[in-house]
Amino acid sequence: MKLNTDMRVNRVTDEVWEIPVTEKAGMLVPARIYATPGILQTMDRGVFDQVTNVACLPGIARYALCMPDGHWGYGFPIGGVAAFDTRSGIISPGGVGYDVNCGMRLIRTDLTLEEVQPKLDRLMTELFRRVPAGVGAAGFVRLNRDSFEGVMTRGARWCVEEGYGWHRDLAHIEEGGCIAGADPSTVSDHAVGRGINQLGTLGSGNHYLEVQVVSSDRVFDPETATVLGITGQDQVVVIVHCGSRGFGHQVASDYLKIFEKAMRRYGISVKDQQLACAPFRSPEGQDYFLAMNCAANTAFANRQVITHQIREAFATVFGQSAEELGMELVYDVAHNIAQG
């Protein structure tokens, strides 16, 4: 099998592949990649280089992991996962990802393709109007420093309290949409300055809001799908992919700079400067963790406000309330996060 690496990659099963610690100086644990042979062959060189760099980080437990969506990232590969001993291990903004709590959110509806198709142009216009995207997009929620601290500490809960969503939404969000232990005093004014006007905005790059249609032949577990509210052929659903916007990125950038200096003090060296890190128990590591939680809550809030706007758009176009249209939240899950 031809792979984009010179390293030895051993088959564990047809879906699990292991790079032994002998393949790179400094590896503390093996690296494991979850992929079919076909997916493994398409993975770029960065996956193999970066997942083995992660395997060199202090305190890593058992394996440096890469999921099937693996491709070249910043420090960690995209799709990278690692666990660290909280006593001897590190925390790294590169491991969390620059866009803290970038994640996916799925909203169901009772509408079908047949009902939506004739109004699709109007629906798209309404969604574009209510969910700003791209350069310089500012959200409709006006915040001051105090209310932004509410967003940082209470996440999606803050939004529901302010009327942007339903209380039952929270049960469908990871951590109930609010991660405890967020401390705004660990966040720079620079980060606040970038984030305070961006609540309810989608961003750019690979972030998106899509109106999608269910295809019954792509439902692999109908029983579970029904429980989640995915009930049939041509059902219309909405999916949102975005995160903490410039705010989370500034938190990551601020602490990368702090960690670059701290590493010298703690005697840590890394294979890639984007893996800059600090001991989890150190003052710098704890401050980052508390600031990262602020960014994570802000991302939950961002997706919650966007959900509110999506519901408003559908209600306007279809002349029924979002509740009458069955616009329940199915799930909200983060893919850029560290959990203690």
């Binding site: 910043y74 350069v135 310089g136 300055g193 984030g195 790059g205 690979n206 410039g246 500034q250 984007q274």
Partner: protein, 143 residues
């Protein structure tokens, strides 16, 4: 003389560019123009906003990184895109000083051609180097 080009095969989901110039100052001009163009077409931005920015730094690569990060910060914090940046880069002993006047305008979708909403400048494959008489930088930005 300075120039820049966008690189298609470096960043899978993001954007990268290579900048070069006959001097450090020209290199900074090239990298600045590349980032301005990444955000919006500068020729469509009619100046109504201006800010003076100065940085002092011991390392040239850090100075460029800080400056490009500043552009991203002001884009979000002031809600602006940019027309131009007058800049000078001066070395004295072991430090470099960057003095700039950054000019732009509030984002206006009706009059400006907007491009990408950059979230940050990264250190992924980032480098600033001198080869012969010419200076080069490679920059990957997260969008």
């Amino acid at each position: 003389m300075h120039s820049y080009q966008f690189l298609d095969d470096i960043a899978v989901a993001d954007l990268a560019f290579k900048a070069e110039g006959d001097s450090v100052e020209e290199l900074f001009r090239a990298a600045t123009e590349a980032l301005l163009e990444t955000l919006a077409d500068p020729s469509t931005v009619v100046v109504t906003w201006e800010r003076r920015i100065e940085h002092v730094c011991g390392a040239l690569d850090e100075l460029l990184f800080e400056w490009l990060s500043d552009l991203v910060y002001w884009k979000d914090a002031a809600g602006v895109v940019f027309h131009e940046a007058d800049l000078s880069v001066v070395q004295k002993d072991t430090t470099w000083t960057l003095a700039t006047v950054l000019r732009g305008a509030a984002v206006d979708r009706t009059t400006q051609i907007l491009h990408n909403d950059v979230k940050g400048v990264t250190k992924h494959l980032y480098e600033v180097k001198q080869q012969g008489m010419r200076w080069y930088a490679q920059v990957v930005v997260d969008v």
